[in-house]
C-alpha cells in the first residue's frame, strides 16, 4: 500500500519537475510548463479560485437548467401558488403569476451567460483591432482612431446604451449591441499601449526584415501578445456588463417578459416589493454573486497573466 502511494508521489514529483523545467526540450513541454506556472500563480489567490468555481457553476447551471429547475419558469398556478413566501416547496418563493422564482433564476443564468459571452465576442475584437491598428500605424491614423476612442470614453456608458436601445428598439439582442458599442474603448486603449511597446521590440524588426507585411505583423505577431491583457480587462468589466444589462432589463428596455432575465425580474418584483420582498430579492442576489465572482476571477487573472499591472 505504501509502495503504491510512494510511486504516485514520485510520479507527481516527476511531473512537477517536467513542468517546472528551465530548459524545456519540446515546444509542448514549454507550453504546458507556462500554463502550469500561470495556474500556480492563479491558484495562490483563493478568492480567484472561488470566482472561477462560481463562474463554472453558472455555466453548468445554464447548461442543465432543464434538469435543475424544479418547476417551469414560464407557467405558474395563479390560483394556488401566487406570491408565496420562501418555503421548502419554493426555496425563493413565487411571483405574482405563481411561477417558482428559483426556476426562473436558474433559467435566467442562460440569458446572463448569453449577454456576457456575446458582448465579449463583439467588443473585445473591435477594441483589439482599433488599438493594434492605431498603435502600429501611428501618425494620422493613430490620432484619428484615438480621438474617436476618447470621445466614446468621455460618454456616460449607461446613458449612451439607453439612447442606442431607444433607437434600435427594446430587446435583449439590441441591449447586447448597445452595451458592446459602448464598452470597446478601454480595450482599444490597452491594446494600443501594448502595441506601442511591442513595435520597438527586436523580434518585430526581425519579422519586418524577413519581409512580413504590416498586416501580417499586426495579425500574427502583435495581436496575440495583446490578447492576455485584453482578456483580463474584459473579465474585470464583466460585472459592469452584467449590471448594465440588468439595468436595461430593469428599465424595460432589455429582455422582455416573460423572459426570466434577472433585471426584468427585479422590475416585476418592484411592484410588490413592500409586501413581498422575495420576488425582487433572489434575482438581485444572483446578479450580485455572479458579478462578485467575475471581479474575483478578473483580479486573479490579472495577477497570473499580467504581473506588471497587479501592483
Amino acid at each position: 500500500m505504501t509502495g503504491t502511494s510512494e510511486a504516485a508521489r514520485r510520479a507527481d514529483e516527476n511531473l512537477h519537475q517536467w513542468l517546472m523545467s528551465d530548459r524545456p526540450r519540446s515546444r509542448r513541454q514549454a507550453a504546458f510548463g507556462r500554463a502550469y506556472a500561470t495556474w500556480r500563480t492563479f491558484a495562490r489567490n483563493r478568492l480567484a479560485v472561488v470566482g472561477l468555481l462560481i463562474v463554472i457553476g453558472l455555466a453548468l447551471t445554464a447548461a442543465f437548467a432543464d434538469v435543475l429547475s424544479p418547476y417551469s419558469p414560464y407557467i405558474g398556478d395563479l390560483r394556488t401558488t401566487r406570491l408565496l413566501p420562501p418555503s421548502t416547496a419554493h426555496w425563493f418563493g413565487t411571483d405574482d403569476q405563481g411561477r417558482d422564482i428559483l426556476s426562473r433564476v436558474i433559467f435566467g443564468s442562460r440569458i446572463t451567460l448569453f449577454v456576457v459571452g456575446l458582448v465579449a465576442i463583439l467588443a473585445a475584437p473591435i477594441g483589439l483591432a482599433v488599438g493594434t491598428l492605431a498603435g502600429y500605424s501611428g501618425g494620422l491614423i493613430d490620432a484619428a482612431l484615438m480621438r474617436i476612442t476618447d470621445i466614446f470614453l468621455a460618454f456616460p456608458r449607461l446613458i449612451l446604451a439607453l439612447a442606442f436601445v431607444a433607437a434600435l428598439g427594446p430587446g435583449i439582442g439590441n441591449a447586447v449591441i448597445a452595451i458592446a458599442l459602448t464598452s470597446w474603448p478601454p480595450y482599444a486603449r490597452i491594446a494600443r499601449a501594448e502595441t506601442l511597446t511591442l513595435r520597438q521590440a527586436d523580434y518585430i524588426s526581425a519579422v519586418r526584415l524577413i519581409g512580413a507585411s504590416p498586416w501580417r505583423i499586426v495579425w500574427r505577431h502583435i495581436m496575440p501578445l495583446c490578447v492576455s491583457s485584453v482578456i483580463v480587462r474584459v473579465t474585470l468589466d464583466m460585472a459592469g456588463i452584467i449590471i448594465t444589462a440588468a439595468g436595461l432589463g430593469f428599465l424595460g428596455l432589455g429582455a422582455q417578459p416573460p423572459s426570466p432575465e434577472w433585471g426584468a425580474m427585479i422590475a416585476n418584483g418592484r411592484l410588490y416589493v413592500l409586501d413581498h420582498w422575495w420576488v425582487a430579492a433572489a434575482p438581485g442576489a444572483a446578479i450580485f454573486i455572479v458579478s462578485l465572482a467575475f471581479n474575483f476571477l478578473g483580479d486573479g487573472l490579472r495577477d497570473a497573466l499580467d504581473p506588471k499591472a497587479s501592483k
Binding site: 466614446f152 468621455a154 460618454f155 456616460p156 456608458r157 439595468g247 471581479n295
Partner: protein
Amino acid sequence: MDRGSARLLRSSQVVARFLVVILLTYLGLLAVTFFIGRVIPIDPVLAIVGDRAPEHVIARVREELGLNKPLWEQFYIYVSKVLHGDFGRSVLTSNPVMQDIRRTFPATFELATLGIIIGAGIGVPLGVWAAVRRGGIVDQVVRIMGLIGYSIPIFWLGLMALVVFYARLGWVSGPGRIDVVYEYTLAPVTGLLLLDSARAGEWQAFGNVLSHLILPASLLGYFSLAYISRMTRSFMLNELGQEYIVAARAKGLSETRIIWRHALRNAMVPLVTVIALSYAGLLEGSVLTETVFAWPGLGLYLTNSLQNADMNAVLGATIIVGSIFVGLNLLSDLLYQMLDPRTRAMVRR
C-alpha cells in the same frame, strides 16, 4: 526667440489643444445623438401624418422637416438648433424639451450633490485611515465595500433599502421628493427643496424633504464612497512612501500633521479629479436610482420618455447629461493640471 515667449507659446498651445479636445468631443456627442435620431426605425414623417396620407402631403412634410436636404446640412441645422437650446417638443408632455429639462434638473442636482457630499465626506477620511493602518480592519472594510460597490446593482440595493428602512423600520419617507401635504406650500425659488424650505423657514417641510432625500442620497453616496475611498487609499500609500515624509518625521512633526497636512495635501491633487469623475458617475447612476425612488428628476424623465419612444425628449436629456459628464471629465483634466504646482508654475510664467 527668448525663453519667456517660448514658455508663453507652450502654455497657449496647451490651452489651444484643450479647446480643440472640448470642441471635438462635443461635436462627437452631437454626431452620435444625431446618428441615433436618424437610425430610429420609425419614419418621423409617417409619425406625424400617418401612413395613409397622400403622396404630396408626405413630400411636403418631409420638406418642412428638412429631411430632403443632404445629410451634412441636416446635421448643421441640428447642431445650430441644439446650440440654441432647441431640442424640439416632447410628445409626452407637449412642452418644449428644454423647459422639461429645466424643471426636472434641480431634483437630480440636489440628489447627486448630497450624494457626492456623503461619498467624499466619508470616503476620503476612510481611505486615509485605510492607508495609514494598512492591512488593518478599516483597510479590509474599504476593500470589501469597494468590491460590493463594483458588484451590486444600484437599483436592487435601492429596492432592498426601501423594504428595510421605509417599509419595515419606518425610519425614512418613501418614494418621491416631498409629501403631498407640503407640495404646494413651497415657493420654487431655486428648485432645490432643501434650500427653498430653509429659506422660507418651513422647518417641518425641511425635515420632510430631508427624510425623502436621505435614502437615495446615501445610496448614491455609497457607490461614490466605494470608489473614492479606494482611490484615496492608493494615492495616500503612494505619498506616504515618499522621501519628504521621512524628512518631515525626522524634523519631529507629529504624525497627525504629517498625514493630514503633508501627505493628504499632495494626494488631494489626483483626488479632486477622482471626485469630479465620480460626481459625473452619480449623474448617470441617478437614472436608475430615480426610477426606484420615483424621484422626479432628469433620470426619471429620460426613462419615462424612453418607454414612450419620445425621441426628442430622449435625445435632449441624453445631450444634457452627456454634456455635463463630458464637461466634468474635461474639467477634472484641467483641474489636475492647475492644482499640480509643477504644471502651474509653467503656465503662470
